[in-house]
């Protein structure tokens, strides 16, 4: 069964922190033997548009993403991937979401 997830990984504007987070999401999948998710990397301002045109399983923002743009899609805050603090917890949440 194809359990390939589609994940939006996003950051404020410059693609800097989302690049870090996207790498982590891929790592979580590969180190747990899960299919590599399809990752849409974009800016916060592009999230709504991406949700309109893709079936997205969950969203991984690296900072405060306004709830009004997530349309109720599960959101996992991943600032920990930038600070290095509490990474395990976020990795677990992402693992659960990838398995779901």
């Amino acid at each position: 069964m194809d359990n390939k997830k589609t994940v939006i990984v996003c950051c404020a504007s410059s693609m800097i922190t989302s690049t870090v987070a996207a790498g982590k999401v891929r790592d979580v999948a590969s180190s747990n033997g899960l299919p590599e998710p399809r990752i849409i990397q974009c800016k916060f301002s592009e999230v709504e548009g991406e949700l309109d045109t893709n079936k997205v399983d969950f969203i991984v923002p690296t900072g405060n993403l306004d709830e009004t743009v997530t349309h109720g899609v599960k959101t996992i805050l991943a600032a920990a991937f930038v600070t290095g603090i509490g990474e395990d917890k976020v990795e677990n949440q992402i693992l659960e979401a990838l398995k779901a």
Binding site: S14, I16, T83, I85
Partner: protein
């Protein structure tokens, strides 16, 4: 590899600022004179910091990683500034919460190709309190520059 990510001229040690705006303005003046950023850089980075702050609660020693779109820089480089007294920044993952930041590693970008290696380098440093503590201890541009070379390992 990353020796060119640090320019000795753009290392600022033990600086006193009234606010993060003060930090941005003074740093911008130097970078503009050096031709490293464009005129619009200052408005863009202030707005960006307001909308999407970059203070990181990395532990005892806290760091901010201000950056803008690559279009406002003429180079790819880090600008390291240690603060004499902590400067308040809003937190990246909680933009209503202020934290007292001890140092700023400003990221200038003009070349997306260099991004992955630059990121790896920065993350390694900011996620390591003993590295941050060593940065805070440096008293000269020379020793700071050498220290960053050792991080490039």
């Amino acid at each position: 590899m990353d020796t060119e990510l640090i320019d000795k001229n753009d290392i600022f040690i033990n600086q006193e600022f009234k606010s993060n705006t003060d930090y941005f303005q003074k740093t911008y003046q130097v970078l503009l004179k050096e031709g490293k950023v464009k005129k619009k850089f200052i408005d863009n980075i202030l707005q960006r910091e307001k909308d999407y702050p970059t203070g990181l609660n990395t532990g005892e020693i806290k760091v901010a990683i201000p950056h803008t779109d690559y279009t406002y820089s003429n180079t790819t480089q880090l600008v390291v500034t240690t603060f004499k007294s902590p400067v308040e920044f809003y937190q990246m993952d909680n933009s209503s919460s202020k934290i007292s930041v001890n140092l700023a590693v400003m990221i200038l970008f003009n070349n997306p190709k260099k991004q992955p290696e630059t990121l790896k380098y920065i993350m390694k440093i900011i996620q390591n309190q003993s590295s941050l503590s060593m940065i805070m201890k440096q008293q000269s541009k020379e020793s700071m520059s050498k220290l960053f070379k050792t991080f490039g390992g």
